[in-house]
Point group: C2
Chain length 156, copies 2
Protein backbone atom coordinates (compact mmCIF):
# COMPACT_ATOMS: atom_id res chain seq x y z
CA UNK A 1 0.00 0.00 0.00
CA UNK A 2 1.17 3.49 -0.70
CA UNK A 3 2.34 5.89 1.92
CA UNK A 4 -0.77 8.02 1.58
CA UNK A 5 -2.82 5.39 3.38
CA UNK A 6 -0.71 5.79 6.48
CA UNK A 7 -1.33 9.49 6.39
CA UNK A 8 -5.04 9.07 5.75
CA UNK A 9 -5.34 6.91 8.82
CA UNK A 10 -3.59 9.50 10.95
CA UNK A 11 -5.62 12.34 9.48
CA UNK A 12 -8.86 10.51 10.18
CA UNK A 13 -7.74 9.64 13.68
CA UNK A 14 -6.62 13.19 14.40
CA UNK A 15 -9.57 15.00 12.89
CA UNK A 16 -12.22 12.69 14.27
CA UNK A 17 -10.81 12.93 17.76
CA UNK A 18 -10.64 16.69 17.76
CA UNK A 19 -14.15 17.14 16.38
CA UNK A 20 -15.69 14.67 18.81
CA UNK A 21 -13.74 16.11 21.69
CA UNK A 22 -14.85 19.61 20.77
CA UNK A 23 -18.48 18.53 20.60
CA UNK A 24 -18.37 16.84 23.99
CA UNK A 25 -16.55 19.71 25.65
CA UNK A 26 -19.10 22.12 24.27
CA UNK A 27 -21.99 20.17 25.73
CA UNK A 28 -20.26 19.76 29.07
CA UNK A 29 -19.87 23.51 29.23
CA UNK A 30 -23.47 24.08 28.25
CA UNK A 31 -24.65 21.75 31.02
CA UNK A 32 -22.46 23.63 33.46
CA UNK A 33 -20.26 20.72 34.54
CA UNK A 34 -16.53 21.02 35.28
CA UNK A 35 -14.22 20.25 32.37
CA UNK A 36 -12.64 16.90 31.56
CA UNK A 37 -9.35 17.77 33.23
CA UNK A 38 -11.17 17.82 36.55
CA UNK A 39 -12.85 14.52 35.84
CA UNK A 40 -9.53 13.04 34.88
CA UNK A 41 -7.90 13.97 38.17
CA UNK A 42 -10.84 12.91 40.32
CA UNK A 43 -11.17 9.57 38.57
CA UNK A 44 -7.44 8.90 38.75
CA UNK A 45 -7.49 9.50 42.49
CA UNK A 46 -10.61 7.41 42.93
CA UNK A 47 -8.90 4.44 41.31
CA UNK A 48 -5.79 4.75 43.44
CA UNK A 49 -5.45 2.81 46.72
CA UNK A 50 -7.06 4.76 49.56
CA UNK A 51 -8.05 7.44 47.05
CA UNK A 52 -4.72 9.18 47.24
CA UNK A 53 -1.60 9.71 45.15
CA UNK A 54 1.54 11.73 45.40
CA UNK A 55 1.62 14.63 43.00
CA UNK A 56 4.46 13.12 41.02
CA UNK A 57 2.49 9.91 40.51
CA UNK A 58 -0.74 11.75 39.80
CA UNK A 59 0.78 13.87 37.07
CA UNK A 60 2.22 10.76 35.45
CA UNK A 61 -1.13 9.03 35.21
CA UNK A 62 -3.33 11.86 34.13
CA UNK A 63 -4.34 11.76 30.47
CA UNK A 64 -4.32 15.45 29.75
CA UNK A 65 -1.74 18.18 30.03
CA UNK A 66 0.20 17.19 33.07
CA UNK A 67 2.61 20.02 33.49
CA UNK A 68 2.19 21.78 36.75
CA UNK A 69 -0.47 19.73 38.43
CA UNK A 70 0.08 22.07 41.36
CA UNK A 71 -2.05 24.83 39.89
CA UNK A 72 -4.94 22.55 39.06
CA UNK A 73 -4.74 20.99 42.51
CA UNK A 74 -4.92 24.46 44.08
CA UNK A 75 -8.26 25.06 42.42
CA UNK A 76 -9.60 21.63 43.27
CA UNK A 77 -8.57 22.08 46.89
CA UNK A 78 -10.31 25.44 47.02
CA UNK A 79 -13.46 23.73 45.83
CA UNK A 80 -13.08 21.05 48.47
CA UNK A 81 -12.63 18.22 45.99
CA UNK A 82 -9.29 17.09 47.37
CA UNK A 83 -6.97 17.88 50.25
CA UNK A 84 -3.20 17.98 50.53
CA UNK A 85 -1.34 15.99 53.13
CA UNK A 86 2.38 15.75 53.62
CA UNK A 87 3.64 12.23 53.28
CA UNK A 88 4.80 11.24 56.77
CA UNK A 89 7.71 8.97 55.84
CA UNK A 90 9.10 11.16 53.06
CA UNK A 91 8.35 14.74 53.80
CA UNK A 92 9.30 15.85 50.31
CA UNK A 93 6.22 14.19 48.88
CA UNK A 94 2.66 15.43 49.15
CA UNK A 95 -0.48 13.38 48.83
CA UNK A 96 -3.49 14.54 46.90
CA UNK A 97 -6.33 12.95 48.81
CA UNK A 98 -9.79 12.70 47.27
CA UNK A 99 -12.57 14.01 49.48
CA UNK A 100 -16.06 12.62 49.79
CA UNK A 101 -17.25 15.67 47.94
CA UNK A 102 -14.77 15.01 45.15
CA UNK A 103 -15.91 11.44 44.87
CA UNK A 104 -19.54 12.45 44.66
CA UNK A 105 -18.86 15.07 42.03
CA UNK A 106 -17.00 12.54 39.90
CA UNK A 107 -19.98 10.20 40.02
CA UNK A 108 -22.34 13.01 39.19
CA UNK A 109 -20.21 14.04 36.24
CA UNK A 110 -20.14 10.50 34.93
CA UNK A 111 -23.90 10.44 34.55
CA UNK A 112 -23.64 13.12 31.89
CA UNK A 113 -20.32 12.04 30.47
CA UNK A 114 -21.43 8.55 29.59
CA UNK A 115 -24.42 9.85 27.68
CA UNK A 116 -22.25 12.27 25.75
CA UNK A 117 -19.78 9.54 24.89
CA UNK A 118 -22.60 7.38 23.67
CA UNK A 119 -24.16 10.21 21.70
CA UNK A 120 -20.99 11.37 19.95
CA UNK A 121 -19.02 8.17 19.72
CA UNK A 122 -19.94 4.69 20.92
CA UNK A 123 -23.57 4.87 19.94
CA UNK A 124 -22.74 4.97 16.26
CA UNK A 125 -20.53 1.88 16.31
CA UNK A 126 -21.24 -1.83 16.44
CA UNK A 127 -19.79 -4.23 18.96
CA UNK A 128 -17.44 -5.43 16.24
CA UNK A 129 -16.24 -1.89 15.71
CA UNK A 130 -15.54 -1.50 19.39
CA UNK A 131 -13.49 -4.65 19.48
CA UNK A 132 -11.57 -3.72 16.34
CA UNK A 133 -10.79 -0.27 17.67
CA UNK A 134 -9.43 -1.62 20.93
CA UNK A 135 -7.37 -4.18 19.06
CA UNK A 136 -5.90 -1.75 16.54
CA UNK A 137 -5.24 1.15 18.89
CA UNK A 138 -3.76 -1.30 21.37
CA UNK A 139 -0.95 -1.78 18.87
CA UNK A 140 0.16 1.82 19.05
CA UNK A 141 -0.35 2.33 22.74
CA UNK A 142 -0.49 0.11 25.78
CA UNK A 143 -1.73 1.30 29.13
CA UNK A 144 1.04 1.40 31.67
CA UNK A 145 0.59 -0.96 34.59
CA UNK A 146 0.79 0.68 37.95
CA UNK A 147 1.22 -1.29 41.15
CA UNK A 148 -2.01 -1.19 43.05
CA UNK A 149 -0.17 -1.04 46.34
CA UNK A 150 2.23 1.84 46.43
CA UNK A 151 3.21 1.29 50.02
CA UNK A 152 3.36 3.96 52.63
CA UNK A 153 4.30 6.81 50.40
CA UNK A 154 4.28 5.41 46.96
CA UNK A 155 7.26 6.02 44.81
CA UNK A 156 7.32 6.51 41.14
Amino acid sequence: MSDSNHIDAWATYFKSFNRIHQAIVEEIKAIGLPPMEVYDVLWTLEQAPEHRLRFADLSERVYLDRYNITRLADRLEEQGLLVRKRCPSDRRGVWALLTKQGLELRREMWKSYKDLIHKHFSGQLTSEDHKDLVRILGKVWKEKEYEKDVGDCGGS
Copy 2:
Protein backbone atom coordinates in the same frame (compact mmCIF):
# COMPACT_ATOMS: atom_id res chain seq x y z
CA MET B 1 -22.54 -6.95 24.31
CA SER B 2 -22.46 -5.21 27.64
CA ASP B 3 -22.26 -1.48 28.02
CA SER B 4 -18.67 -1.69 29.27
CA ASN B 5 -17.42 -2.42 25.75
CA HIS B 6 -18.66 0.92 24.55
CA ILE B 7 -16.77 2.59 27.33
CA ASP B 8 -13.65 0.55 26.73
CA ALA B 9 -13.59 1.66 23.13
CA TRP B 10 -13.89 5.29 24.13
CA ALA B 11 -11.27 4.95 26.85
CA THR B 12 -8.84 3.35 24.44
CA TYR B 13 -9.54 5.98 21.82
CA PHE B 14 -9.18 8.83 24.30
CA LYS B 15 -6.09 7.59 26.09
CA SER B 16 -4.26 6.46 22.99
CA PHE B 17 -4.83 9.78 21.30
CA ASN B 18 -3.63 11.81 24.24
CA ARG B 19 -0.50 9.74 24.77
CA ILE B 20 0.45 9.75 21.11
CA HIS B 21 -0.29 13.43 20.82
CA GLN B 22 1.82 14.18 23.88
CA ALA B 23 4.71 12.16 22.48
CA ILE B 24 4.62 13.91 19.12
CA VAL B 25 4.28 17.36 20.66
CA GLU B 26 7.24 16.66 22.89
CA GLU B 27 9.45 15.72 19.96
CA ILE B 28 8.31 18.68 17.91
CA LYS B 29 9.32 20.94 20.76
CA ALA B 30 12.65 19.19 21.16
CA ILE B 31 13.40 19.67 17.46
CA GLY B 32 12.50 23.32 17.79
CA LEU B 33 9.64 23.38 15.30
CA PRO B 34 6.47 25.45 15.71
CA PRO B 35 3.55 23.62 17.31
CA MET B 36 0.76 21.78 15.53
CA GLU B 37 -1.63 24.73 15.76
CA VAL B 38 0.64 26.64 13.44
CA TYR B 39 0.86 23.75 11.03
CA ASP B 40 -2.88 23.41 11.08
CA VAL B 41 -3.45 27.02 10.08
CA LEU B 42 -0.75 27.06 7.41
CA TRP B 43 -1.97 23.83 5.86
CA THR B 44 -5.59 24.95 5.91
CA LEU B 45 -4.64 28.12 4.07
CA GLU B 46 -2.47 26.24 1.61
CA GLN B 47 -5.40 24.03 0.63
CA ALA B 48 -7.74 26.95 0.14
CA PRO B 49 -8.16 28.57 -3.29
CA GLU B 50 -5.47 31.21 -3.82
CA HIS B 51 -4.06 30.34 -0.42
CA ARG B 52 -6.44 32.60 1.40
CA LEU B 53 -9.48 32.40 3.65
CA ARG B 54 -11.58 34.79 5.63
CA PHE B 55 -11.06 34.50 9.35
CA ALA B 56 -14.56 33.20 9.91
CA ASP B 57 -13.99 30.39 7.42
CA LEU B 58 -10.50 29.67 8.66
CA SER B 59 -11.60 29.22 12.25
CA GLU B 60 -14.35 26.85 11.12
CA ARG B 61 -11.97 24.56 9.30
CA VAL B 62 -9.12 24.41 11.76
CA TYR B 63 -8.95 21.20 13.77
CA LEU B 64 -7.76 22.61 17.06
CA ASP B 65 -9.07 25.21 19.43
CA ARG B 66 -10.61 27.73 17.13
CA TYR B 67 -11.76 30.44 19.47
CA ASN B 68 -10.11 33.72 18.77
CA ILE B 69 -8.12 32.97 15.68
CA THR B 70 -7.26 36.66 15.77
CA ARG B 71 -4.55 36.26 18.38
CA LEU B 72 -2.88 33.35 16.67
CA ALA B 73 -3.01 35.23 13.38
CA ASP B 74 -1.31 38.20 15.04
CA ARG B 75 1.66 36.04 15.91
CA LEU B 76 1.80 34.39 12.51
CA GLU B 77 1.66 37.78 10.84
CA GLU B 78 4.50 39.03 13.03
CA GLN B 79 6.55 36.08 11.86
CA GLY B 80 5.70 36.85 8.26
CA LEU B 81 3.83 33.59 7.69
CA LEU B 82 0.62 35.26 6.60
CA VAL B 83 -0.71 38.72 5.85
CA ARG B 84 -4.08 40.33 6.45
CA LYS B 85 -6.03 41.95 3.65
CA ARG B 86 -9.44 43.51 3.85
CA CYS B 87 -11.92 41.86 1.57
CA PRO B 88 -12.72 44.44 -1.13
CA SER B 89 -16.35 43.53 -1.77
CA ASP B 90 -17.35 43.06 1.86
CA ARG B 91 -15.25 45.24 4.03
CA ARG B 92 -16.36 43.50 7.20
CA GLY B 93 -14.38 40.43 6.24
CA VAL B 94 -10.61 40.03 6.37
CA TRP B 95 -8.52 37.57 4.43
CA ALA B 96 -5.71 35.63 5.95
CA LEU B 97 -3.33 35.22 3.05
CA LEU B 98 -0.53 32.68 3.18
CA THR B 99 2.89 34.06 2.32
CA LYS B 100 5.65 32.30 0.42
CA GLN B 101 7.50 32.08 3.70
CA GLY B 102 4.49 30.47 5.36
CA LEU B 103 4.20 27.96 2.57
CA GLU B 104 7.84 27.03 2.82
CA LEU B 105 7.68 26.65 6.57
CA ARG B 106 4.68 24.36 6.27
CA ARG B 107 6.61 22.12 3.87
CA GLU B 108 9.63 22.13 6.11
CA MET B 109 7.51 21.16 9.10
CA TRP B 110 5.94 18.32 7.19
CA LYS B 111 9.30 16.64 6.71
CA SER B 112 9.54 16.11 10.46
CA TYR B 113 5.85 15.63 11.09
CA LYS B 114 5.46 12.71 8.75
CA ASP B 115 8.34 10.87 10.39
CA LEU B 116 6.86 11.44 13.83
CA ILE B 117 3.45 10.23 12.70
CA HIS B 118 5.06 7.13 11.29
CA LYS B 119 7.13 6.55 14.40
CA HIS B 120 4.34 6.98 16.93
CA PHE B 121 1.34 5.81 14.95
CA SER B 122 1.17 4.54 11.40
CA GLY B 123 4.38 2.58 11.49
CA GLN B 124 3.00 0.11 13.97
CA LEU B 125 -0.12 -0.68 11.95
CA THR B 126 -0.78 -2.82 8.89
CA SER B 127 -2.52 -1.63 5.76
CA GLU B 128 -5.59 -3.52 6.92
CA ASP B 129 -5.51 -1.62 10.20
CA HIS B 130 -5.35 1.67 8.36
CA LYS B 131 -8.34 0.79 6.25
CA ASP B 132 -10.33 -0.45 9.23
CA LEU B 133 -9.60 2.69 11.20
CA VAL B 134 -10.73 4.96 8.42
CA ARG B 135 -13.88 2.90 7.95
CA ILE B 136 -14.79 2.78 11.64
CA LEU B 137 -13.96 6.36 12.53
CA GLY B 138 -15.74 7.48 9.41
CA LYS B 139 -18.94 6.32 11.07
CA VAL B 140 -18.65 8.77 13.91
CA TRP B 141 -17.31 11.68 11.95
CA LYS B 142 -17.44 12.84 8.35
CA GLU B 143 -15.29 15.60 7.00
CA LYS B 144 -17.34 18.61 6.06
CA GLU B 145 -17.29 19.45 2.40
CA TYR B 146 -16.30 22.99 1.61
CA GLU B 147 -16.84 24.54 -1.75
CA LYS B 148 -13.54 24.85 -3.47
CA ASP B 149 -14.56 28.09 -5.03
CA VAL B 150 -15.63 30.58 -2.45
CA GLY B 151 -16.11 33.37 -4.92
CA ASP B 152 -14.81 36.84 -4.45
CA CYS B 153 -15.01 37.02 -0.71
CA GLY B 154 -16.11 33.62 0.34
CA GLY B 155 -19.04 33.26 2.61
CA SER B 156 -19.46 30.81 5.39
